[in-house]
């Protein structure tokens, strides 16, 4: 609407010989008369041209677009961030020759960021892995796929025999399609380990944990598009202008049309902050005090939404008690934010509604990551800003399909779709997979536990990506499994993504087997240190592969293969299938998945995999999005409204659907649920995407309280109601809170008679609950009565199962405010995810040793718009690499002046652990405040001053290399998810 192509009439004049534009002095010529003029004098001195001075670039007819050949337009989804921009490719004779704006997509509406607009370069492939490689005595040798997979599987079986299945560690990818992610997780299950992780660990694992523990699901509640409806938006710990540029289209449009408040709370004045109406600079790692500082004003002035809290929130009073401690003076001391400013922001957020809170990794990458997220949710709950248009927790996920890969269980704590790891979960998936539960159980290691019990690793969370090298290097007795990790199978994941690279290199060297399956070699390779036992497998990008992906807003989009995988690269499906075959369980694993002819022979069909996901995806509403429905959405993108994401009710195949059938999309595909664009929205009927907070934590909580009775203190049990009170979704037959639906609940309500005989038969064989009923009958009946299958409960301000049930401030492990550590210490040491977490000891040692004096600057890290993740792919893209050619550190002009550092010169950044240091260029800017340094995390290929270009197999080195920020980042892990503390540590900077 803002800029359209010219209408036919205004363009019509071209080429009709109409008079040229009469402008001012300069001669105006059209092209043809210009040419004619040139031609007139072709004689004369034309002989001089023979000297070659005028020779033009030779026409390279082969390259680029040929106007005459037929063009096929193919739609896929950008493989970079989670916004989910549609990429429209022009394909001629099997060659991707150009990109066109994808005007019809309601998400990106034709636009892209630098990465999306340069995405075609990925299949030029100059620097891609071209064929399988094997490292032999430090040299890479080209081998066949057959040889690679045979040797890898043989080695894996050898490790399995010697150390058990838990010694093989699987690292998957947020770049997988949903189908690839699902197969990868299934692969782990069939191999016999839960140590299957991916990038969500280091981007939003704490969000997922925090949000799910508050109101049910770990995902963005609303959508990018819905931000257009907000009157106030806070972006806290996020820089979407660089990380999710296309989302800014919606944010800025909303800001303009609603004259909305756009408040950015961040340690840096980012490109996003430049467009804010209010910028609040905070000290890194003080999110909870900032939120509580706002809540202090809100509670003090009675700005909270009392009705909302009463009906839909559990235990807000517990929060009030904690917030009382955070008066403006204390808050200013800890965070650096003046009380008046926070009061203004709090008032806007509470009063100028609807308000939304947008966050990203600035919130999550902390030892208090989960608690930060919980505090954010509490602010939303206190002001009644959840479950309506323009409100909500708008969590911007990182990679293209990090939401989908998380949903599909590429995660050490759960099977696909958040079923967890208990027997019920395994039995559910065993039924979906049509395999024997006991056989699955037999795949796993067992170990004697305390008190004559047996630890069955089938039910034990695996080793996360932030800790894998500790599980390789730590003494065997400190790792809670039968042996250390011996092999790492890495699909689509950078090697520079977690802190403590000096420690990681030790683990990397000690592995018996390293498999990197990726379009690029990644930093696992460039860090070097290995001589043998390394295999590089060329995997195609998702642009060379069909499949679905889930954007941050839970919309599922289908991407069509644009071109065949280039060189010898192969797609994930085929590689996983072949590996399963070599490992001996392909027949079981692919039992009900259709095989089709692929590049290298039979490969699993993406559609068929999605159908299997549908058959098991009841818990999260991944059941209604059949490939046919999603493809119909892609074909009819133009019909969806940009603000509501809904298509008109016109009786067509997508009639009334929300774009991408955002999950939960209840029931069977035939039920035609439209998807849920806004979670927990009671203003709509469940049939129209309405909902309520999920009854995930029971119907009541028993709390032991001490009361005075007859002068004596006695302990009594208090039963707190957890179900909603007087709040329900539009059109619900139950006008109050209710638990999640099971066959028993249906029976109690007398609704079980509505189940068909067929459904009843299936329910008897499968689980009797809404999430395990493979017929979808329980969901169907509940929704017919206007009820949400997962129940209608209160959101939890007190999440009693978390380490900090009500969030409390804890100083970062490496904090410049050592004076605050005694009052706000990190959590005590404990064991988590099979390895020790000694954060408390590290923090104490740092304080005792005076680290903050030696390393006085706060170091934070983040994204650049041109690069993505570990950056190997984008740094290999010449159109992107040209725009950021050097790794740099942002430093305030005053800090630079004190150190005699000039813009653009090399400096050493020293980290407080492992005597680490990196050599980077100085970018002197006021984006960062005094005492703060910031670096992008996309670089790799240099290590502590040394260029490691030579470590790449020939021809696969990215164009731009640089130091990894994670060489100098440090210890510290969230107690709930083992998220690293990437957003705050200490450093020192000196001129190099």
């Amino acid at each position: 609407m803002l800029i359209k192509r010219l209408s036919g009439s205004s363009r019509g004049s071209r080429g009709r010989g109409a008079p040229v534009v009469a402008t001012q002095a300069s001669a105006v010529l059209d092209r043809r008369s210009f040419l004619a003029r040139s031609g007139l004098a072709a004689g004369g001195l034309a002989g001089l041209s023979a000297l070659g001075f005028t020779s033009m670039r030779k026409a390279q007819a082969a390259a680029g677009f040929d106007a005459k050949a037929p063009v096929k337009l193919v739609k896929n989804i950008c493989t970079h961030c989670s916004v989910g921009c549609t990429v429209t490719a022009e394909v001629q004779n099997g060659v991707w020759v150009g990109q066109e704006p994808a005007w019809d997509s309601p998400i990106n509406r034709g636009t892209h960021c630098a990465k999306g607009a340069a995405i075609r370069e990925i299949v030029h492939g100059d620097r891609r892995l071209k064929y399988p490689l094997k490292l032999v005595n430090g040299e890479y040798q080209r081998i066949s796929w057959e040889q690679a997979l045979s040797e890898i599987s043989a080695k894996m079986m050898e490790i399995r025999a010697k150390s058990g299945p838990e010694s093989v560690w699987w690292l998957g990818s947020a770049k997988f399609s949903n189908e690839g992610a699902y197969l990868f997780r299934k692969m782990g299950a069939f191999w016999g380990t839960n140590s299957v992780d991916h990038q969500a660990r280091i981007c939003h694992s704490t969000t997922v944990a925090g949000v799910a523990n508050t109101w049910g699901y770990g995902a963005q509640t609303n959508s990018y598009n819905d931000i257009r409806n907000a009157k106030t938006a806070i972006i806290m710990g996020g820089n979407p202008a660089e990380a999710h540029p296309v989302s800014l289209q919606h944010v800025l449009t909303g800001k303009e049309l609603n004259r909305a408040n756009l408040i950015v709370i961040d340690p840096r004045l980012t490109r996003t902050a430049a467009h804010a109406t209010e910028y609040v600079r905070i000290r890194s790692g003080t999110d909870i005090p900032v939120i509580y500082g706002m809540l202090w004003h809100i509670f003090e002035n009675g700005w909270e939404d009392k009705k909302f809290i009463e009906q839909r929130v559990y235990a807000m009073d517990d929060v009030r008690a904690e917030v009382k401690k955070w008066d403006p003076k204390t808050v200013e001391d800890v965070t650096g934010v003046p009380g008046e400013q926070l009061k203004r922001v709090a008032e806007l957020f509470a009063k100028e509604r609807p308000s939304t809170l947008i966050w990203c990794m600035g919130a999550t990458q902390h030892t208090v990551g989960t608690a930060n997220v919980r505090a954010y949710c509490i602010l939303l709950l206190a002001t009644g800003n959840v479950g309506a248009p323009g409100t909500g927790a708008n969590i911007f996920r990182g990679h293209t399909n990090v939401q989908g890969a998380t949903d599909l269980g590429v995660d050490v704590v759960t099977l696909p779709l958040y079923y967890g790891l208990d027997d019920n979960a395994w039995k559910h998936w065993a039924r979906v997979w049509d395999v024997d539960f006991n056989w699955l159980d037999s795949r796993f290691d067992k170990k004697p536990g305390p008190n004559n019990t047996t630890i069955n690793f089938r039910t034990v969370p695996g080793i996360p990506s932030t800790r894998w090298f500790d599980a390789v290097s730590l003494p065997k007795d400190q790792v809670d499994q039968n042996d250390n990790l011996k092999a790492a199978i890495v699909f689509g994941h950078g090697g520079n993504t977690v802190p403590r690279i000096p420690e990681m290199t030790k683990g990397l060297a000690a592995l018996d087997l390293l498999v990197v399956a990726d379009p690029h070699p990644t930093n696992f390779v460039s860090l070097g240190g290995r001589k043998n036992g390394t295999y590089l497998l060329p995997i195609s990008t998702q642009l060379e592969c069909s499949g679905s992906r889930t954007a941050s807003n839970r919309s599922i989009q289908w991407g069509e293969k644009i071109v065949e995988p280039i060189f010898e690269s192969a797609n994930d499906y085929w590689v996983i299938y072949k590996l399963a075959e070599k490992l001996g369980f392909a027949d079981k694993m692919f039992k009900n998945i259709k095989m089709v002819k692929g590049k290298f022979g039979d490969e699993p069909e993406a559609e068929s995999i999605l159908r299997e996901i549908n058959r098991g995806g009841w818990s999260t509403g991944y059941c209604g999005q059949s490939p046919e429905r999603i493809k119909a959405h892609m074909a009819n993108q133009g019909k969806f409204d940009v603000r509501t994401l809904r298509s008109p009710s016109d009786g067509s195949e997508i009639s009334g659907d929300y774009y991408g059938l955002p999950w939960p999309c209840w029931g069977t595909p035939e039920m035609k649920h439209p998807g849920t664009p806004i979670l927990y929205n009671t203003n709509l009927h469940v049939k129209d995407g309405g909902g309520a907070f999920r009854a995930r934590f029971g119907v009541e909580r028993v709390v032991k309280v001490k009361v005075q009775e007859n002068g004596a203190e006695v302990e009594k049990e208090r039963k707190d109601n957890l179900l909603a009170e007087g709040s329900y979704s539009l059109g619900s037959d139950l006008k109050d809170g209710y638990p999640e639906f099971t066959l028993a609940v249906l029976q109690k309500l007398g609704w079980d008679s509505e189940l068909t005989a067929e459904e009843r038969a299936i329910i008897e064989k499968s689980g009797p609950s809404w999430s395990t009923d493979l017929s979808g009958g329980i969901q169907r009946v509940a929704i017919a009565h206007g009820c949400v299958p997962f129940g209608n409960a209160k959101a939890r301000a007190n999440a009693w199962n978390l380490p900090d049930p009500v969030p409390v401030h804890r100083e970062p492990i490496y904090t410049p405010r050592v004076d605050l550590v005694a009052k706000y210490p990190t959590r005590p040491d404990f064991k988590s995810f099979r390895v020790p977490n000694i954060g408390f000891s590290v923090q104490k040692a740092a304080v005792d040793k005076g680290i903050a004096k030696e390393f006085p600057m706060i170091l934070s890290s983040g994204r650049l718009v041109e690069y993505e993740g570990g950056g190997e792919e984008t740094r290999s893209n010449k159109w992107l690499a040209e725009l950021q050619q050097d790794m740099f550190v942002e430093i305030n002009p005053r800090d630079a002046a004190e150190r005699g550092i000039a813009e653009g010169q090399f400096v050493w950044v020293y980290g407080p652990e492992s005597s680490s240091k990196i050599r980077v260029k100085a970018l002197v800017t006021e984006r960062v405040g005094k005492g703060v340094a910031w670096m992008p995390f996309h670089f790799g290929g240099w290590y502590q001053g040394a260029d490691q270009r030579g470590n790449y197999p020939k021809g696969t080195d990215p164009i731009v290399l640089g130091e990894s920020v994670n060489t100098v980042t440090t210890y510290g892990f969230d107690p709930v998810t083992a998220m690293h503390e990437g957003k705050v540590t200490l450093c020192q900077i000196k001129a190099a």
């Binding site: 040139s38 034709g110 636009t111 340069a118 202008a241 430049a274 467009h275």
Partner: protein, 198 residues
């Protein structure tokens, strides 16, 4: 009769560089040649604004005026184009251009300038529309296909507008009146000797 212009709404521009890579992608522009770029004014300070800049296709274009070999011409859509066959790479257009648009590949010794290259408004060059020769020397010719320059079409926040001047001024005016602020039609005064009054 269209009078094509660019307009960068700096209150929307977030320096995402989509315009830059879209240009590279569409026109196969080599490393080191930047037909379009984004410049950030007051970087890191409150009030920072980014502006995407390329050839503005000026009225009474200075490049055309100073060219010793007269290799520029203006199309009927008011797009300023040039002939690489005639250009001698003297660099005069760069001195005259207020926007730093002309780019020169380095050829031969001591960084001598090759044939000038610049934004064509995705309108190719003097060769036949959509011919291979045009594609090779100038890149795409979207105008001939009835499309606008890809940089503007792909702009993530729709900050960069391309099209007939009346249409894009109207859009900009509407935006400013709706939102209540505007940092100006960057480059217009210099390029077109007029600005958009709102």
């Amino acid at each position: 009769m269209a009078r094509m212009k660019f307009l960068c709404d700096a209150d929307r521009c977030i320096e995402c560089n989509a315009c830059v890579t879209a240009c590279k992608n569409e026109n196969d522009v080599p490393w080191g040649i930047n037909r379009r770029r984004v410049v950030t004014i007051n970087d890191g300070k409150p009030g920072e604004r980014s502006v995407s800049m390329a050839c503005m296709h000026c009225t009474d274009a200075p490049c055309a005026a100073v060219c010793p070999v007269d290799c520029f011409y203006t199309t009927e859509d008011a797009v300023v184009l040039h002939s690489k066959e005639l250009c001698i790479g003297c660099g005069y257009c760069f001195y005259a251009c207020p926007f730093g648009a002309p780019q020169y590949p380095k050829v031969g010794n001591f960084g001598s300038r090759g044939k000038m290259d610049k934004c064509t408004y995705c309108a190719g060059g003097p060769e036949d529309d959509l011919s291979a020769a045009e594609q090779a020397a100038y890149g795409s010719n979207r105008l001939a296909e009835g499309k606008l320059p890809l940089c503007a079409e792909m702009c993530s926040t729709k900050a960069l507008l391309a099209g007939d001047h009346e249409m894009i001024s109207e859009i900009y005016k509407e935006r400013v009146s709706k939102r209540g602020y505007g940092s100006g039609a960057w480059g217009w005064k210099t390029a077109y000797k007029e600005t958009i009054n709102v």
